[in-house]
Amino acid sequence: MAAYFQAPTAYSRTALPPLAAVSAPQHLVPPSDTSGTIMAITGVGFTVIAGDARRGDAFGAYPQVRFVPTVFRLTDKAVLATNGFASDGNIFIKKVRQRLDWYRHAHAKDMSLHAIALLIQSMLYQRRFCPFYVHNILGGIEDDGSGAVYSFDEVGSYVRETCRAAGSASTMLQPFLDSQIYPKSSQPPTPGSATHLSLARVLALVMDSYKHAADRLSHDQIGDGLEVYIVLSKGTSTQGLNIEGVSEVTSIPGGERIFLLRRSLA
């Protein structure tokens, strides 16, 4: 009985290994980066959200498949781009869409953009200790008609910005976007809309960025197809959209409008 009341450290009736040694290795199935690049830019009354369609394999050595969308239309005024670990991304999109459906059924309207951003933050942070390995960029039109881009890290920190690139080509593209979009005197860059850029100019920036990133990066990182969603606030003209490969995907007429541009990045 004396031994029974000793401090636990001195209590050694059995010689079990420490707990850490018997539990399974914690990185049994590490997430893999399935590459690709996403970006979003907002101007006055419009937001452009883009992503490439090539999917790398788990080893980052070989393009696994040549057309997988990474940009998803959530509502008529919100588009979400994901990048990182593909299966986490798919599940995350599925969950966000389900939450938006529930909201629509409860309130008979679509969730506003800043509310979606907050929802995404809390959904990501819920998994703080087993994170979704995805970078998200949310783009669209706010209730006041202004364009907005929200970018998130894996655990939910987010910020409203004017432009953002994420993924395999982000280190090349982000400084380039900064140089083109933020006013030269703005140090550090301030969020808001890029007032000096037309839709046509922004689309050209996006398509050129992808084309040249695809030329520079190794073959598994970026390529094949480019999908660009263009969200216009109510009443914004479609000037600049009369280019090849654009189709309208708006579901409810009379409000914000969404267009999809598909291009080859061969």
Binding site: T14, L19, S87, N90
Partner: protein, 267 residues
Amino acid sequence: MDHFPTNWGRPRNDTWDPYATYPIHQRPQNHQPKDRFAEGVQHTQQPIVTGTSVLAIKFKDGVMMAADNLASYGSLARFRDIQRLHPVGKYTVLGAGGDMSDFQYIQSILDELIVDELAAADGHTLGPKEIHNYLAEVMYSRRSNMNPLWNSLLVGGYKDGKSFLAYVDLLGTTYTASTLATGYGAYIAQPLLRRAVEGRENELTADEARKILEDSMRVLFYRDARSLDQYQIATITADGVHITESRKLETAWSFAEGIRGYGAQTQ
């Protein structure tokens, strides 16, 4: 069951601690696994008995899938009569590479799913799309619990006039295309399949599709050291699922005679 009586709780000792204030978290051994056999519960950390590539293409009337009959044990060609194409319901075929015991487990849960759907008798049947979505959720949740089912799977099917072909693997990764290949086939056969099929999905006849798969299986048999010359082909069309008997590839090895280091030469 906890086999350590000391973990069952502290017997009262009125002389030493009459009000039972001894903190629970300091009780002896409470930080150890409760179950002596907990350390015996292990998760798959590598595949053991494995199947190699599965190939699948879309053609005019539906989807065609091919896999050889081998289950390897490392580099040993251990089981040579394994069927790696499994029909699921009336509209779908599942083809598996990777760990064969995990594949058998997947077969059993899918069969159970089909029986449940049949028992519901609600007029709805599961098509390839539903099977694939279900599998993707199973695979993703298993990997998230750090206990993956070590397979790459192809789901092919034909329902309501539409072909369906998609991939899902141990990470829960999914994608779809008109030609798909798993394992070594993703490197060796996929380019051949793309060249033969892309843009011709609505023109290829069943005979042409079979020829394309057979040629690709032959290239794989020549190049993939874990493959076999016996294989099966599954065809899924409006007429339902048909899986052939095992068939043998015609191969020619006489070219090896002339290659130094390949044949019998010593110098």
